[in-house]
Every structure is written in structure tokens, then in C-alpha cells.
């Protein structure tokens, strides 16, 4: 089920909240059970089979964590079971997500045509597998106690707000909340506010930017121009930000409605003044996961320079691969690895002294070009797109199509650019305190407009005129 759907918003969510809050707050275990059942229904919606895989993953990690801790309590290290658990987790992820990719790559290298049946990707498997691994590793490191109750652990892994697209919540950040958390009307309202703005980002901005990007990539070669291609990739840049951060906002908002506090996942990444800073602001739960569970165990930066460079390349190749089973994601990850190495060892000091505008321009330039590699799965096509951005292929600088796209999307682009910075939100924060009624009207206007877009999604005129 998607958050941005009529069914979720007006049927699943109210029903879940009604059951959840009808349980008196002193029976937190029953509320947890209600949230767990809702999460399983949410997950199995439309694709019921893989819910068993998730339950299996929950049970496996639950028992292995207890096993590791009991070995440690008996004086052992628990190391072998940790390695076993991590391998099984990675195997499940690898089998469902990377099997086809691996087979294709092997056939390509060996020129042997391997026949295989690719399975559908279980939704959210990259997210919940990483959550499970954060749990098992933290238990091994004794950063957190293993959860005694299976129900609580299953709830942590499957909690529907963050199940499908993150943020990747570390177990130790919510361990206490599984046992006691506050429920206030104000907290619920803060969650509603967050959710509505996230919904607006996704439905009003991301989807429209997505349509613009699709228009540009679908243009016939007679209508391509340099500027149009820049408009296209800028549209994608804004689409992916509003899509992903909007989803995170909805997840965090829904979490608050259920009494949970999740960590932030995005912090205005497009105002970053270096690529290093960009990655501290973009999909923070993923980058901190890789830092904590891969980069630092490899030695981090406290090693010789060649080893450090190696560590960065490993981490970034894996980060790329996490985003999808295709070579362009690996290249995209390595691209960032290389840029970060250059920032660290070559241009970092010079960049720090440059004026703010230069720093931001440089960062956005690197990031926008990165999205070309990210958005086009076929590396050859991505390379051609990059070429056209810089004048390859003798396309005109701009043409009427550019004018048309700008004229029809000027409002959208303006909103998209302005709202990517922190100022509008800061203004709303003050506004909501001083001018409560107008702020409420603004908030619910965003909600109603988003709903009108969702309803329009079912507008499907039967095109009788063709016949």
C-alpha cells in the first residue's frame, strides 16, 4: 500500500488509528499488537506472499540475537553466530535483490547464456534487512540488550510507517519507545502536520517533476536541446528529493501519530556547501548506517591514506549497489567515492575558503550530474545524456520546446527551488505560533490539494472518440 493513496489515507489509516487508540493506553502491549497487525496487513496488501519472508527474518534475527547474547554471557564471543546471521541476512537480500543482476553479469563476462527466473523484489527488503542487521550488530557490540519479547521485535522490524521506504531506524533508537512512549494530542497533531507536508511534497511536487522529467527523456531527437536536457535533469533532481524526503516526512509523521519518534532523514541537502556535507544531509539514516557498520569497522579514516581511500571506495560502491541491482548504481556510488576522496585530499581546504555561492554551485553541479547516472539505468544512455548537457551531438542550445516546458512549469520550478531551502519551513514554524488560523488554513489547503491530485489519479475518461 502507498501512503499517497486514497485507500491508505481515508480507510486504512483511520481504521488503524481508531483501533489503536481505542485500546486504553495502559495496555501498551495490546496497542503494539494492533500496530503489528496493521503493519502486516499494510505489508501484505496486494502482494501477500512476501509477508512470510519478513516474519521469517524477524524470527531469525530475534532468536540469533538472544543466542549471541547468551553465548557472550557464558564467556564466549558470539562472533561465529554474528557472522552466520549477517551472512544469512545478506544472502536473503542478495537472493531476492541481486540474483538476476549477478546472473546477467556472469553471462556477460563468460558469454554463457544463463537462463534464470527472476523473482519479484519483496517491497522494503533493503530497509528491513538493514534494520535487522543494525540490531544484531548492536547486540553483538553490547550497545543494546536483545529484545526479550518477539512481538516487540517484530513490531520494530515491520512498523508500517518506515517499512517500505525508510528511514532506516536503528533498533537502539526505538528500543525504549517499544516499551513506553507518550501519547499526546499535540504530538499527534505535530505528526499530522509533518505527514501533510510530506504528502504535499510527494503528490504536488515530486509527481509533477517526475512528469516533466519523463517528457524530456521521451522527446524525439528533433526536439532535443541542451537547455531542455538541463531542465530535465533539474526536474529529476527535484523529483527525487521531494519524493524521498516527502516519504520520510510522511513516515516520521505517521510515527509521531503512533507515539514514536524517528530520527530525521533529510536536512535540506541541496543547500550543502560541499559534497561531504551533502551526504551528511541526504538520506542520513542510510549514510550513518554505512558509516557505523561498514566504514568504521574497516578502520574509517584512522588508517594510512591508501587504506582510507580503499575504505571510501568500498563503502561507496556498496552504497551505490544498495540503491539498485544495476551497474549504473555502482558507478554512481563510486563517483561519489572519488569526489569525496578529492574533497578530502585535494580541494577540501581551497573549497572551505571559497565564497558560499561558489561552494553551493560546485556541490549542486556534482550532485545534479550524479543524478544523470542514477536516473538512467543504461550507462551508455546516461553517458549520451551527459554529453548533450555539455554540447555533444550538435543539438541547439534551446528551442521552442524549452520555452514551452519553462512556460508551463515555471510555477512548479519556482516552488520546487524555494521549498528546497530551510527558510519556508522556518517561516511556517513562526507563523503557526503567531497566526494560528491562517497557518491551519495553509496546512489544510496543502492537504485538500494533495487529495484532489490523488482523486484525479482515478480520472480515467473512457476514450470513446477513437472508435
Amino acid at each position: 500500500m502507498l501512503f499517497s493513496s486514497i485507500f491508505f489515507l481515508f480507510y486504512f489509516l483511520p481504521a488503524t488509528l481508531a483501533v489503536y487508540y481505542l485500546v486504553p493506553r495502559r495496555f501498551l502491549g495490546v496497542r503494539n499488537a494492533a500496530a503489528l497487525i496493521a503493519s502486516l496487513i499494510f505489508y501484505s496488501w496486494g502482494e501477500p506472499n512476501y509477508v512470510f519472508l519478513m516474519i521469517y527474518s524477524a524470527a531469525f534475527n530475534y532468536f540469533m540475537a538472544r543466542q549471541i547474547r547468551s553465548e557472550q554471557d557464558r564467556g564466549g564471543t558470539g562472533r561465529r553466530n554474528l557472522v552466520f546471521t549477517v551472512i544469512v541476512n545478506l544472502f536473503i537480500l542478495g537472493f531476492f535483490k541481486y540474483f538476476g543482476f549477478l546472473m546477467d553479469t556472469v553471462s556477460h563476462i563468460t558469454h554463457v547464456n544463463i537462463q534464470y527466473t527472476a523473482l519479484a523484489l519483496p517491497i522494503g527488503i533493503s530497509f528491513y534487512t538493514f534494520q535487522a542487521m543494525s540490531y544484531i550488530i548492536d547486540v553483538y557490540w553490547r550497545r543494546v540488550e536483545p529484545q526479550r519479547r518477539f512481538l516487540r521485535f517484530a513490531l520494530y522490524l515491520s512498523l508500517f510507517p518506515q517499512l517500505i521506504a525508510g528511514p532506516i531506524v536503528r533498533y537502539r533508537d526505538v528500543a525504549d519507545q517499544l516499551e513506553h512512549r507518550d501519547f499526546t494530542l499535540a504530538g499527534f497533531g505535530a505528526g499530522a502536520e509533518r505527514f501533510i507536508f510530506g504528502l504535499g511534497k510527494k503528490v504536488l511536487l515530486a509527481n509533477n517533476f517526475g512528469a516533466l522529467y519523463q517528457t524530456v527523456t521521451g522527446l524525439g531527437s528533433s526536439r532535443v536541446s541542451v537547455l531542455t536536457y538541463w531542465v530535465g535533469i533539474i526536474a529529476y533532481t527535484l523529483q527525487i528529493y521531494y519524493d524521498f524526503s516527502g516519504y520520510s516526512d510522511m513516515a516520521i509523521g505517521l510515527g509521531k501519530m503512533l507515539g514514536f519518534d524517528f530520527n530525521e532523514n533529510f536536512n535540506y541537502p541541496y543547500v550543502a556547501k560541499s559534497v561531504t556535507e551533502f551526504w551528511r544531509r541526504w538520506h542520513m539514516s542510510l549514510s550513518s548506517w554505512f558509516r557505523e557498520y561498514v566504514y568504521i569497522p574497516l578502520g574509517g579514516s584512522r588508517v594510512s591514506a591508501p587504506r582510507h581511500i580503499m575504505n571510501l571506495l568500498i563503502v561507496w560502491a556498496l552504497t551505490g549497489l544498495w540503491h539498485g541491482a544495476s551497474w549504473n548504481f555502482v558507478v554512481w556510488g563510486l563517483y561519489y567515492g572519488v569526489v569525496l576522496i578529492i574533497e578530502k585530499y585535494v580541494i577540501g581546504k581551497g573549497l572551505a575558503r571559497a565564497p558560499g555561492a561558489v561552494q553551493r554551485f560546485y556541490t549542486l553541479f556534482v550532485v545534479v550530474l550524479g543524478w544523470v547516472i542514477f536516473s538512467i539505468t543504461d550507462l551508455g544512455a546516461a553517458w549520451r545524456y551527459l554529453g548533450i548537457l555539455f554540447g555533444a551531438g550538435n543539438f541547439p542550445l534551446a528551442d521552442m520546446t524549452t520555452a514551452y516546458l519553462l512556460r508551463t512549469h515555471v510555477t512548479l520550478l519556482l516552488f520546487g527551488i524555494v521549498l528546497a531551502g530551510p527558510t519556508p519551513h522556518r517561516t511556517f514554524e513562526a507563523f503557526s505560533r503567531n497566526r494560528r488560523l491562517p497557518a491551519l488554513i495553509l496546512l489544510f489547503t496543502v492537504f485538500i490539494l494533495s487529495v484532489s491530485y490523488l482523486v484525479y489519479g482515478s480520472y480515467n475518461p473512457f476514450l470513446y472518440f477513437r472508435f
Binding site: 481515508f10 499527534f188 510555477t411 512548479l412 489544510f444 482515478s458 475518461p461 472518440f465
Partner: protein
């Protein structure tokens, strides 16, 4: 909690200069007041939709979209595990959303405000016109159609053949397109096509000059529909008379039978601020000169003398006043002197054009290849066809695959 907050507020009021701690608490308290109001509103909004949905009756048909809406599907466990029940439930709640049309109009209005000019490939133009994009022919497909036409021509060397390919609004009324919109050059495609068919021995009927000469005085296309108007069809008839050697065009009188027509482009785009159209029907001015015809619809086995089905004016697809819905095949018999028999192979543009033609032919056979699956050669022989007219609009024709299939020699 509440009491504590009240205490904080009172201490605030006493102190003329609140300290940083008080300011922080007041800041939080003010936000909480906002959040509580937001919470209540959000809960009301979430509950209102299912409650309204429960009490409001379900609609089974959307006139705007001309389709059946999903009604309560029921729930079964097997369907749930196949994933089908979920999809049905989702489309049910979307189709039955309270005030659904209002929300759809709101979305369109918002797009317009934001500067969008296009919705579902319909372009909003000057003067309240909605227009379809010009379609690019698929080269291989068009080649197949031209070859089939040439082969058909060759099989009937004695039959006169004509091809009326009507231009579309976005071509003729190009000056009404928004300034930045550039269309494919339909004239280029049409010129190439006309050259190809004349080479094959089929006479083109090109109405573009007549249309361009009259476009400022006559409304040639509907504002809200993709068809030409009756005025456009009448102009095409005048050109056809000349090319087909039918003599001086007869005088007709137009009368408006509907003035609130919202056509296909209106429905498809969801745009609401256009003008509605008039539908006119043409009748011969000199009523005594008019030879009544008998029309026989083969599919419904229905016989009538009426070209215009006025009761269809009240339906959503009011253009079907011209000959009803699309029939695979029908015949029109008229007791005229001339013993010629015309076969019209056509799309829906022909529907408003056809009533002018039977005055010149003892029998007119109308075939719509999109629905007609019989052998065309049998028809040619059995009806003793002496003339063939192909009539299409360019957008439909350049994407059409059915004509080539119908014309294939099956003997």
C-alpha cells in the same frame, strides 16, 4: 501537564522580561496549541470521507468520463491472497470518493493556475479551443496502408476512387495554439500521402485550401471535441462536389439543435473553463428537391429514414446525433435517377458529412474498417460498387491499422 503549562503562562505574564527558559516554554506551548488544532482537524478530515462514503449512495456511472464506476466489490479471502481484492477495493474507494468531480475540477483548475497548457495530450488554446496534438504517422504502418490502397485500386480499374483526408484543428487553426507550442507539420505528412495515392490512381480531395480560406468566418472545428463541425463538413462537401464531379453543391440551411455540447476533448482533459459548443444540422433549403433515403443498419437490423438521431443529443456523446454510434456497415438507398453506387470507407469524421452524399447515388454503402471484418471484395461485387470514397481525419488515419487489413485481397 496542563496545570504546569498554566503556571508557566502566569509567570510569563508577571515577568516583564521573560528569561530564555520561559521563552522556550512559551514557544513550545504556542506550537502545541497549533498542533492540537491540527490534530482535531486532521482526525475530522480522515473520518469525514469514510462516513460520507458510507451514507452517500454509490454512483454507478460517470458521465464526465463516460465509463462505469467501480461499485462495492465484496471481500473474499481467496481474492485477497491473489492481490485482486485489494486492487478492487482501491478503485472502489477512488471511484466513489465523495465530491469526486469537484476534486477533479479542483486539480485541473490548479494546473491551469500554475500555467499548465496540456492535460492528457489535450492542449488548451486561444479563444477557448481545446485541441489534440498532431500525430506522427508510423512509417512502416503507413507504407502498408498505402500499398493496400494501391493494390485495391488495381483490382478495380473501372471504379472511381477518391480519398478525402481531413486536416485536424491543430493544423488549420495553428494560430490559436499557445505561443510556445510547436506541432508536427501535418501538411508535410498529408502532401506526401496525397502524392502517394494519386500515383496509385486514387483522386485526392484536399479541403485544406477551402478550410484556410474560411477559417476566420466559419467555425470549422468544435472547441471541445476533436471532430469538425457541421459547417466544416459542409465546406468539405462543397469541395468534394467539385472533385467528384457532382455538379453545383445544393443549398442547405443550418439550424442549431444543441448549444451546450461538451465533447471528447473536454472530457479527456478535465478542463472546465472552456465554452460549450453548438451542434448544427443541415437540411436542404429547397425541401421539395430533397430525395428521402432509407438507411439500413446491418448490425442492429434497423431501418430508418432519419439521418439525425435527435434523442442522442441528450447523451454524453452528443456527436452521435450523426448516425448514432459507429456501425460496422450500413446502406443508404435513395430513389435518384443516377445509377451509381458509392462505397464510403471512413472514420467518425464522415458521420456528419454522409447526409449530403446520398442525393447523388442510388445506393451508398458505409463501412468502418475498425469494426468491419467481412470480405471487402465480396461487398464490392455484391453491391455493384461504382465509386469509392475514403474519408478519414489525418490524426486517426495516420495511426490506423485497420484499413490495410480490410483492404487485403482475401480471394
Amino acid at each position: 501537564m496542563e496545570q504546569k503549562k498554566k503556571q508557566n503562562q502566569t509567570t510569563e505574564q508577571k515577568n516583564t522580561k521573560p528569561g530564555p527558559r520561559q521563552r522556550r516554554l512559551a514557544w513550545k506551548a504556542a506550537k502545541d496549541r497549533f498542533s492540537r488544532a491540527a490534530a482535531v482537524l486532521f482526525i475530522v478530515a480522515l473520518a469525514a470521507v469514510p462516513v460520507a462514503g458510507y451514507f452517500l449512495p454509490d454512483n454507478s456511472f460517470s458521465a464526465e468520463e463516460n465509463r462505469m464506476l467501480r461499485e462495492w466489490p465484496g471481500i473474499s479471502v481467496t481474492e485477497y491472497f491473489e492481490g485482486r481484492a485489494e486492487r478492487k477495493l482501491e478503485s472502489y474507494v477512488e471511484d466513489q470518493f465523495p465530491l469526486r468531480n469537484g476534486f477533479i475540477r479542483m486539480k485541473s483548475a490548479m494546473d491551469m493556475t500554475a500555467g499548465m497548457l496540456e492535460s492528457n495530450d489535450v492542449i488548451k488554446c486561444e479563444d477557448h479551443y481545446l485541441m489534440e496534438e498532431i500525430k506522427t504517422p508510423d512509417a512502416a504502418n503507413l507504407e502498408r496502408t498505402v500499398a493496400a490502397l494501391a493494390a485495391f485500386r488495381e483490382r478495380y480499374p473501372k471504379v472511381r476512387m477518391y480519398f478525402l483526408l481531413a486536416p485536424n484543428a491543430a493544423n488549420i487553426l495553428e494560430d490559436k495554439l499557445p505561443a510556445t507550442v510547436r506541432m508536427e507539420d501535418q501538411d508535410r505528412y498529408m502532401d506526401a500521402f496525397f502524392a502517394a495515392v494519386s500515383e496509385a490512381g486514387i483522386t485526392p480531395i484536399d479541403v485544406r485550401d477551402a478550410f484556410r480560406a474560411n477559417k476566420d468566418d466559419v467555425q470549422l472545428y468544435y472547441r471541445t471535441d476533436h471532430h469538425w463541425t457541421s459547417d466544416g463538413a459542409y465546406l468539405a462537401y462543397q469541395t468534394a462536389c467539385e472533385v467528384m464531379g457532382l455538379g453545383k453543391p445544393a443549398e442547405y440551411t443550418a439550424r442549431v439543435v444543441k448549444n451546450d455540447f461538451n465533447g471528447t476533448l473536454y472530457s479527456r482533459s478535465g478542463y472546465t473553463n472552456g465554452l460549450s459548443d453548438e451542434i448544427k444540422i443541415y437540411t436542404m433549403t429547397d425541401e421539395d428537391a430533397w430525395q428521402p433515403s432509407v438507411i439500413y443498419y446491418a448490425d442492429t437490423k434497423e431501418k430508418t429514414t432519419e439521418f439525425f438521431r435527435l434523442d442522442n443529443l441528450e447523451t454524453k456523446d452528443a456527436y452521435s446525433v450523426f448516425g448514432g454510434s459507429n456501425h460496422p456497415m450500413y446502406t443508404i438507398k435513395t430513389p435518384v435517377e443516377i445509377n451509381r453506387r458509392l462505397l464510403i470507407i471512413k472514420d467518425s469524421y464522415a458521420n456528419s458529412f454522409i447526409p449530403f452524399i446520398p442525393q447523388y447515388y442510388r445506393e451508398v454503402v458505409v463501412v468502418d474498417p475498425r469494426y468491419y471484418f467481412e470480405n471487402i471484395d465480396d461487398l464490392m461485387t455484391s453491391e455493384g460498387v461504382t465509386d469509392v470514397l475514403f474519408l478519414y481525419n489525418a490524426n486517426t488515419f495516420f495511426l490506423d491499422e485497420s484499413l490495410a487489413m480490410t483492404l487485403v485481397d482475401e480471394r
